[in-house]
């Protein structure tokens, strides 16, 4: 028995920070608020690092039991945290990237109103996210799952006086509910058939079961329902619509929640439940198809977006699609590997985009940027690293993980060349829209009006409504580089984006093998494929070359269209006509959902629930009975004339009546 690891401290530390800042932060200075938030978040990171350093000497997987929670009959769900290779990786990514983004946010949010509120929410998010990845049973995981949704809602609507931000927060929350519904049903099925939600117990019971090869079965149903939950949280088709709108939140939030960590929760959940998915090939196929289609679909939308953050949002959806593709071909470690590298470079992209936005006074439209390379060199270089990483150029981090996914999409027994082909097309599109962003932002002539005249007011005017605007300490005459506190996290993430992939997908897979080992074995067990894999090494190199070529082609095309001949995109757009408009308007999916789902609900609520049921039945029942009582009383009250003799008359009449009745009865 090893001494307790106190694993519970990792999630609880940020919770303490959130509580202190949330309850008392209003009275603290900004410095104190920032210090508290960073201390507790940093402490969680330090704790995670300490666990990681001791990891090799720990008897994993280990469960750190904290307290009993629900015990009903044979069912048991406790506050307990679970540590294995998978949760270690997730814990390090969440605390590490989270801490860096906290540091960045101190600089980015310094002049905003509600500073303490922001950091309280951010720490609260860390608590829930760490609960999600460290939970030892599905129910505790669900607490984290819902909690990050709450934190996401609070942070998207952080500038709640802005209508669009408040609406975006609601949209994110409501769309997530649809996914959570599926997840909950999956949990109910698990309880019903396995009597437990503990990972260890459930997986132990499922392990001896055979794969459901012929169509549907219990595990397939559970897997599909879990995928519904994952699609909601991780913004996959058809529930992705909330993520682009979530960009209404402050940029550090977009980086932390809507790029690096929360949206990857679905991938983590699928990977964590791989025992179930391994035995449900139909569910796996659905995961792969959803992932592939989402990757392609979101990438095409990303091409036509003009808002720098929206491009990154669609890019995030697309990259999440890659992760699901990896999970869908049972290459879980490749998915988690991409999750990790994506956290680095996408976190960095958002932070750098925030730095760009900060530099030119709150402008997010790329058409009004350009030529910023010389003005903000540090941001430029870090963004460059991230762009090359996401496009998949070697030796940047994204290359290793994406290449591994594409290879597995083809080579895995669950794979197919269709997945690979769509994946490569998506890689090309990714490279194209990312370099489009890069060229539009940093090269050419500056097309905005921030230089010289515009002050820094506009970016903070929004936040200023929610609190008091504080004068900036450094001058805001024109385009300016961000303060050091924002640049240092950028530099660290840039370092990770460049070198983070050098761990190598193979070594990463070996590290995660104890978790996914069974999956690998099941995969290898498919006999007709096993021999094939060994003889395909030259093919793998060819595939790598093709995906790098696709990335290079994307770079060339972006250079051609947005650097060399900037008038071309306009002509192409005109030539494409209707198709271009469909893509530029995000395929009208929001409008379609509005007609199909939102309008019926709103109209039904208005006409039926509100006007017919609430007003017509509930209110009217009450009002009518009150009116009836009133009119009856109105007619009867005239008996109360105040005339003594009339009262006496009534009494006499009544007495006569009673007597008459008794006499009549007596006669009978």
């Amino acid at each position: 028995m090893t001494p307790s690891l106190h694993l519970w401290l990792v999630p609880v530390l940020p919770l303490i920070g959130a509580a202190i800042n949330g309850l008392l932060g209003k009275r603290f200075s900004r410095l104190a608020v920032a210090a508290i938030a960073l201390t507790f978040c940093g402490a969680a990171f330090a704790m995670a690092l300490w666990v990681a350093l001791r990891f090799s000497s720990l008897p994993v997987p280990l469960t750190d039991y904290v307290a009993p929670w629900i015990r009903a009959g044979n069912f048991q769900a406790d506050f307990a945290f679970y540590l294995d290779q998978l949760s270690l990786v997730m814990m390090l990514v969440v605390t590490g990237v989270g801490f860096l983004i906290h540091v960045y946010a101190v600089g980015y949010m310094w002049e905003e109103g509600g500073f303490y509120r922001f950091f309280s929410y951010l720490n609260l998010f860390m608590f829930f996210m760490l609960t999600l990845v460290l939970a030892s049973n599905y129910l505790l995981m669900f607490i984290g799952w819902e909690g990050v949704g709450l934190a996401s809602y609070l942070l998207i609507g952080f500038w709640f006086t802005k209508d669009s931000a408040a609406a975006a927060g609601k949209k994110a929350f409501i769309v997530n509910r649809i996914g959570d519904f599926g997840f909950l049903i999956a949990l109910f099925l698990l309880i019903k058939h396995f009597g437990s939600l503990n990972f260890a117990e459930v997986f132990q019971k499922i392990a001896p079961m055979n794969a459901e090869t012929a169509g549907a079965g219990l595990l397939t149903a559970i897997g599909l329902l879990m995928m519904v939950g994952a699609a909601g949280k991780s913004a996959q088709l058809p529930l992705y619509v909330w993520l682009p709108d979530a960009m209404e939140g402050p940029t550090p939030v977009s980086a932390l929640i809507h790029a690096a960590t929360m949206v990857t929760a679905g991938v983590y959940m699928v990977a964590r439940s791989h025992v179930i998915f391994d035995r449900a090939p139909t569910a796996l196929t659905v995961v792969a198809i959803v992932g592939t289609l989402t990757a392609l679909f979101a990438a095409t939308i990303g091409i036509c977006q003009t808002d720098i953050k929206k491009v990154l949002a669609y890019s995030t959806i697309s990259q999440l699609g890659y992760m699901f593709l990896a999970c869908g071909v049972a290459a879980y470690s490749a998915g988690i590997f991409h999750l990790m590298t994506h956290a680095f470079f996408k976190g960095l992209l958002f932070l750098a985009a925030g730095s760009v936005i900060h530099a030119i006074g709150g402008e997010q439209d790329m058409r009004k940027m350009g030529g910023l390379r010389d003005h903000i060199p540090a941001t430029y270089w870090t963004m460059t690293a991230a762009t090359f990483a996401i496009a998949g150029f070697p030796p940047f981090a994204g290359f290793f993980s994406k290449d591994e996914i594409l290879w597995r999409a083809y080579a895995s027994p669950h794979g197919s060349w269709v997945y690979w082909l769509i994946g490569v097309i998506t890689a090309f599109l990714t490279s194209f829209y990312m370099f489009r962003l890069w060229f539009l932002t940093f090269f050419g002539e500056y097309r905005g009006d921030a230089a010289g005249t515009q002050t820094h007011g506009s970016i903070h005017a929004v936040g200023g409504q929610a609190g008091v605007s504080v004068p900036h300490e450094h001058g805001h005459g024109g385009i300016h580089e961000s303060p050091k506190i924002m640049l240092v996290p950028l530099a660290i993430l840039a370092f990770l984006s460049v070198f983070g992939g050098w761990i190598g997908s193979h070594r990463f897979e070996m590290f995660l093998a104890p978790v996914f080992g069974e999956a690998t074995r099941l995969v290898a067990a498919a006999p007709e494929q096993a021999g094939q894999i060994t003889g395909m090494e030259h093919l793998e190199w060819m595939f790598t070359a093709i995906s790098v070529a696709a990335a290079a082609l994307g770079l060339y095309l972006a250079w051609l269209l947005y650097q060399s001949r900037p008038q071309l995109p306009q002509k192409i757009a005109e030539a494409l006509g209707g198709f271009y408009h469909a893509v530029a308007n995000k395929y009208y999916v929001d409008e379609l959902y509005a007609i199909l789902f939102v309008r019926p609900v709103v109209d039904g609520s208005t006409r039926i629930l509100w006007q017919a049921v609430d007003q017509g039945v509930i209110d009217d029942t009450l009002n009518d009975s009150a009116d009836a009582a009133r009119s009856v009383s109105d007619s009867v009250r005239h008996m109360q004339s105040g005339n003594l003799r009339s009262y006496a008359g009534w009494v006499a009449l009544g007495a006569a009546g009673v007597i008459a009745y008794m006499v009549w009865r007596g006669v009978r």
Partner: protein, 100 residues
């Protein structure tokens, strides 16, 4: 011996007189006396039955009624005096402040 029915008819007539007086008179003292008349009508039938059946309980009940009537007269007259002092009238139709 006078038959029972004579007493009962007389008691009924007395009671009816009391009720009629109560309903048609406006002077509060007259109304008051009408109440006494009704009580006496009832008393008469009580004692008539007591004599008929040779039971004492009817007569004892009459004593109770008389005691209560005396107490009622004391309280009632006091109320009438105070009503007259405040309202300066004994007409019940004008004592109707409780009317809605």
């Amino acid at each position: 011996m006078v038959p029972l029915s004579y007493y009962l008819v007389l008691g009924g007539i007395l009671f009816a007189c009391g009720v009629t007086g109560f309903l048609i008179k406006r002077n509060i003292i007259t109304i008051f006396m009408s109440i006494e008349l009704m009580l006496n009508g009832v008393n008469l039938s009580f004692v008539a039955f007591a004599a008929q059946w040779g039971k004492l309980s009817g007569q004892i009940f009459v004593f109770f009624v008389m005691v209560v009537a005396a107490a009622e007269a004391a309280v009632g007259l006091a109320i009438i005096i105070s009503v007259y002092r405040t309202r300066e009238t004994l007409n019940v139709d004008q004592v109707n402040l409780l009317k809605l």
